[in-house]
């Protein structure tokens, strides 16, 4: 995996002047959020009802831990 670009170094202290750089480094970058463009349903039963209503197959992404949260 390629490294990400960052304004931080291993020496950067946390203080009010560097706070924003830490936020920016840690939070997801736009290119890391492409998966949120999928219209995920968040409840298996609701998804089943919706799929029946629109006559489509379901696609289940099942993980130990919520795939949209901490997995």
């Amino acid at each position: 995996m390629p490294d990400i670009k960052t304004d931080l170094t291993s020496e950067t202290p946390l203080n009010p002047d560097t706070f924003q750089a830490f936020l920016t480094h840690i939070r997801s970058r736009p290119d890391e959020l492409r998966w949120t463009g999928i219209p995920w349903e968040t409840d298996l039963w609701e998804a089943r009802l919706k799929a029946a209503a629109v006559n489509r197959p379901m696609f289940i992404w099942a993980m130990n831990g919520n795939p949209l949260g901490c997995v």
């Binding site: 890391e32 099942a62 901490c70």
Partner: protein, 325 residues
């Protein structure tokens, strides 16, 4: 979480899922065993799939399933390879199209009696935070892209209790104990590479969080958050069933917190909650894939108000009977 980058960022997979399926994300850690109609439906599908009947190295049914609403499996796989997933989706769609047309829509009950063990609900009117965790740059300059997300929940009353009754600039108050302990116990956990258990109460050596009123207007209270959290735990000696090795080691975090919060006095809600916790982490747990990176090495956590989008309303990983304790 690697699948988000390797599979679900692929343009063709995004298009196929959006146009031809009803995609759903499911925590099968619950649905594999939950005793209700939802759990039964998941098991009906999963037992036809790639891990059907499997008990070793684990009984997990993690993976990707294309199925009908009646529970007929169309295709399944467990991989982070986008090309393989694309092939599985196309195979599933082919099977879907080859099915004979049904003369009547399936009869699916709108409601069912849910397993009472899973009875948590979103804190409407409260505070939901999105928490992102990522390694910080090393001395080598390496900046690893891997990261994970979670959500932290506070009830309406809990969120309001973070604001002093008479906020005046310069006023400094310890954050309520529940707030500091929940953040420390449930959310400052090294999950950058994979899941890890929350801390036990006795693992928390220090959880000091202070809220300082910086500015007050008729509409808003602006607060600065400062704090320190130190957690340390002995290994559990659990065996990783995949490697068949004991990979967990003594673990800990030693973090400094800084943040800036804006509370809307009319709405009685936080408009923004931008905070970070940074410092060294060390050790490994059974499933967090740190056995080759025991540290100490720098880690960072970032907090922000979660959006109201359904995908930002999923429960905290540590939700359970004692989460709000």
């Amino acid at each position: 979480m690697a699948g988000r980058a390797s599979v679900f960022s692929h343009p063709e997979i995004i298009r196929l899922l959006a146009e031809s399926f009803v995609p759903v994300a499911d925590n099968c850690g619950y649905t594999q065993t939950q005793q209700d109609a939802k759990g039964e439906f998941f098991r009906l599908v999963a037992e036809q799939g790639h891990y059907g009947g499997r008990t070793k190295p684990t009984a997990t049914r993690q993976g990707l399933y294309a199925c009908t609403v009646e529970g007929e499996l169309l295709a399944s796989i467990n991989t982070r390879d986008a090309d393989q997933v694309l092939g599985t989706l196309k195979a599933g769609l082919d099977r879907w199209r080859q099915r004979p047309a049904s003369s009547s829509p399936p009869d699916i009950p709108k409601a069912y009696s849910p397993d009472p063990r899973l009875n948590w609900s979103y804190p409407e009117g409260g505070l939901a935070l999105k928490v992102t965790v990522r390694d910080l740059p090393r001395e080598s300059g390496e900046a690893d892209p891997r990261h994970n997300i979670d959500f932290a929940w506070f009830t309406r009353d809990e969120a309001r209790s973070l604001i002093p009754a008479d906020p005046q600039p310069g006023l400094s108050c310890p954050a309520p104990r529940f707030f500091a302990r929940r953040i420390a116990r449930c959310h400052l956990i090294d999950t950058v590479r994979g899941q890890s258990p929350r801390w036990r109460e006795e693992d928390i050596e220090k959880a000091d969080v202070t809220l300082i009123v910086e500015r007050v207007t008729s509409g808003h209270v602006h607060l600065r958050l400062e704090g320190e959290v130190k957690n340390e735990a002995a290994p559990t000696f659990d065996v990783n069933p995949f490697s068949e090795r004991v990979v967990d080691k003594p673990r800990g975090v030693d973090l400094r917190l800084l943040g800036y919060l804006r509370f809307d006095r009319q709405q009685e809600a936080f408009e923004s909650f931008d905070a970070v916790a940074v410092g060294p982490r060390w050790g490994a747990t059974t499933y967090n894939a740190r056995f080759d990176d025991l540290g100490p090495a720098p880690i960072g956590f970032a907090f922000e108000v979660a959006s109201d989008d359904p995908i930002d309303r999923v429960p905290p990983a540590a939700i359970g009977s004692s989460y709000f304790a």
